[in-house]
Symmetry: C2
Subunit: 543 residues, 2 copies
């Protein structure tokens, strides 16, 4: 089918891994045996500052890892990563750099695209965010009736809010600025109506986030919110700010309100949490200093990722494990289960980051992949997930799990110990036991109580959930995502897969506009399925 | 491997479907061709009252459906469904009936287990819920300082809250009783601490939901909340109520507070939304009359499900399509994408309902399945999902999608039409275009702009999101879930897969208690991995 050209799936090491995967299906490599090896944890875990990555309960041996490191060499992942952080145009299809790592670099270290140091621009936006958040917190900037801001409504969709939602939730315990955070993303008016019941418009700041400032849903929501502010007798110009590209219609334009913050074409939406996209809302919500600490954590793990050799490189090892599970052991999905309620929005963010980056069908050099890439990412916090879908994890069709644990919780433990253990200890008893149960399984003469076991998981520990460690966690997943792409030899920074649906929606929008203008317009020229849906939409119910 | 005994996967019709699936992979059966057949939509869609189920963009022909209906016959699904609704002990491993459908039956119609009419008990609880909600709404029952209740904190995990969360969100537009709904499920204190910032304790009612009243997380949270109420100078007995089994420690016991509502062993947690588990919180949040309308919708679709012949039976057809996609076309996951923000908590509920029910490894007669069953369910509302993970849906590893559309939205459309279309029309333009784009794909010389197409989806339309239709939606998914189980010949009502993790957690809890009591206790007798985690937990950080 596919034409000639480099494909990782046609290299000798890929073939060796395929053969090795067959070998690993033998009963002696069942996890219940593997995890009994002496020093297994020492061999198959990595520590870096406040990060501990344990892959001892993955279905791997030293041979597996050696082959995977050979795979990484073959795919030239270190060179690709360095090209990325040094500003090369690694997003080849769009002729752009991919410099999310620069968003948390030190201004002193130059990072250049075509010889221009981007750190000047990045630094300017950081100063602007710091000053803005201080003025909002001090009350120097207020709403049009003089009220200080108590509500922040982020108006944006996809990459313009998922990362901020994850970090905002993760750091709720640090949100002491008296500002509540709301997300208006869905064009369904229900989203707007629910927010209306939660805010006081006079003390509400709306932040419209869109790179092009043409995102249909975001524009519709911004206009709806602006009309509401006006209807409330407020001057919307004093209640709006924007994050957008230089020169876009939202850049100090008629909808920009108080201030515009720039985002850059070298940072894609799903990688933009550490840019102004996350920076403006998070510095308002948490204070700029905490946002800065969050950047510091991300930067620190970026440096680890750039310099650590393969066997010590946490994001790379986790990417290799992901590829081993997916391409060699045949698992098509991956769950993320943090035993930490503050991380309840981590999975939706990583779902976007990973699936939008790596769900591709061509290599970076435009050769068709032998198999389209990407895995399904999903997840809920533990122990909630145990009471929801873990039946399937233990006895149904298996899927690998990334467990996440936090050693010291954000809140001090209460004195309540209903079963002799604290709430946090209860969480950990479950965190430890789930990974063990999945791995070892259980023989039982009662078939319903038989557990096959041999179900792989990793456990990532963080010493705590401080801003700096949440920054590390973000950087870890970003790096894991691009490393997977570098191994598959795909471009993780474009997303042409969303274009076709948009094109068809544009056509349909024109049809709807025609009918809105002229009631007698009909859809008989459309195919019968589309016609049915459009007729149903306009008739208000199907008959 | 597996021993003798009936397995659907060894029947002639299964073999015929396997052969037919090979045939369906031929290029002439690409969806771009199939959907051009005349009257395709008429042939491959079903209407029932306010429900429209369109499977015209599934990879099926009339032959496929004939074989699938033969499969349903072979699996005796209609008999199994009738046995279930008539009170037979279809949950054979636990020797219980599975009568969630009775929770919305008319009291006049008797439903018997072992000759006892359960409708009397169910009716008694309904009357109790009606009276209780009226007394709360009228202010006849108040908190210990005389304040009327404005906040309801549901304390429960898994099936004790996911369904209520789904329905509560779906019907937010109808929540006019002045009561805010909160869910305290996670044992992580963060969950409790966030709720504390949102409630006024004096006007807060806590509803503890646990069948056994021994669920570890729920008991820990209930005690934490009770201690907080006491610390606030309130009498917790006037701020608590319980939903639990007759005779459990929470049945009019020391923790029961104002009132206890009974749940029954013939309704499992994930099927319990229409019982007191959903009924008490939803009738407080929405008013009992609306909860009753919700039951009416569920009952109405139950009747359809019981009596409609296979080709007209919406839940059965959708279950067969699911099995076709999973077992014959090889898709291992399934997304649920409602183009309706009120349905944003539908996917987590169905994730539990489906994955906990159907992730099994043995048949109902205790024979090992040839392949363990179940699919990964995940989802987010549209259009948000388009801006998150749809890149993978279009160009990465494919997965089938259930789209959901609502013809008339809950909120009247504003006058804002930024692109000449209303917000609701915008949603629909996308709903229609995504299903089309996935099906037809697009040829393009630019490889990055090539779309393989042939990616299947169904579209479920509801005329509106009224309480009655949300009831239908719930019943639809419940019936789809059990029909899938009936075809796979598994028991969807037990969940022994969660036991092993619990057993190991019990052991670990004992270890933790020992260390809590005696600081010098050590874990050297444990395996090295477990030892590391326990040492880390107690040292407060890994070194």
């Amino acid at each position: 089918m596919a034409e000639k050209g480099f494909r990782i799936s046609r290299t000798p090491v890929w073939k060796k891994l395929k053969e090795h995967a067959e070998e690993m299906k033998r009963p002696e490599y069942h996890l219940k045996h593997l995890i009994q090896e002496k020093h297994r944890l020492d061999k198959f875990s990595l520590k870096h500052v406040d990060f501990f990555y344990d892959y001892s309960r993955q279905r791997v041996t030293e041979k597996t890892m050696d082959l995977l490191f050979e795979l990484a060499e073959t795919a030239k992942v270190h060179r690709k990563y360095r090209d990325m952080v040094e500003g090369k145009k690694v997003n080849v299809t769009e002729n752009r750099a991919a410099l999310h790592t620069a968003a948390r670099s030190f201004p002193g270290q130059s990072v250049c695209i075509d010889g221009d140091n981007v750190m000047d621009k990045i630094d300017a936006v950081r100063h602007q965010m710091r000053a803005f958040s201080q003025k909002i917190h001090s009350g120097a900037i207020r709403g049009s009736t003089g009220k200080v801001f108590r509500h922040l409504v982020v108006i944006g969709i996809g990459g313009s809010y998922l990362g901020t939602e994850f970090v905002g939730n993760a750091l709720f315990a640090f949100a002491d600025k008296g500002i509540e955070l709301h997300f208006l993303s869905n064009v369904d008016s229900h989203n707007f109506e629910t927010i209306k019941t939660k805010i006081d418009p006079a003390s509400t700041l709306c932040l419209v986030i869109s790179k092009s400032f043409t995102t249909v849903e975001t524009m519709a929501n911004a206009k709806q919110m602006m009309a509401y502010m006006t209807a409330c007798g407020l001057d919307p110009m004093k209640h709006f700010a924007t994050v957008t590209s230089k020169g876009s219609p939202g850049d100090n334009g008629p909808l920009s309100g108080i201030e515009t913050f720039h985002m850059f074409d070298f940072i894609g939406g799903r990688f933009s949490v550490t840019s102004a996209v996350g920076g403006v809302p998070l510095s308002l919500y948490l204070g700029y200093e905490r946002f800065d600490r969050f950047l510091e954590g991300a930067r620190e793990l970026d440096i680890h990722t750039k310099y650590a050799p393969s066997p010590e490189n946490i994001p790379l090892v986790s990417a290799l494990i992901g590829i081993w599970n997916n391409n060699f052991l045949g698992y098509q999905s991956q769950a993320i289960i943090p035993y930490a309620s503050p991380l309840s929005k981590l999975a939706p963010h990583i779902q976007q980051l990973n699936m939008e980056s790596n769900g591709k069908s061509v290599t970076i050099n435009n050769y068709e992949l032998d198999d389209s890439s990407g895995v399904i990412i999903f997840g809920e916090p533990g122990t909630n997930a145990q009471h929801s879908f873990f039946q399937l994890a233990h006895q149904g069709h298996p899927f690998p799990i990334d467990f996440i644990g936090v050693v010291t919780p954000q809140y001090p433990e209460g004195s309540c110990r209903p079963h002799g253990v604290s709430n946090h200890q209860e969480l950990w008893a479950n965190l430890i036991s789930q990974a063990t149960a999945l791995a070892v399984g259980k023989d039982d003469n009662k078939k319903t109580h038989f557990f096959q076991g041999n179900r792989p998981s990793s456990t990532l520990l963080l010493n705590d959930l401080s801003p700096v460690n949440v920054g590390r966690l973000l950087s870890y997943y970003e790096a894991q995502t691009v490393y997977k792409a570098f191994i598959w030899d795909i471009n993780p920074f474009d997303q042409f897969g969303v274009e076709l649906g948009k094109t068809i929606a544009d056509d349909l929008r024109r049809e709807i506009v025609a009918k809105n203008k002229n009631e007698s317009y009909n859809f008989n020229h459309m195919d019968e399925i589309t016609q049915f849906y459009l007729d149903t939409l306009f008739s208000g119910r199907f008959s």
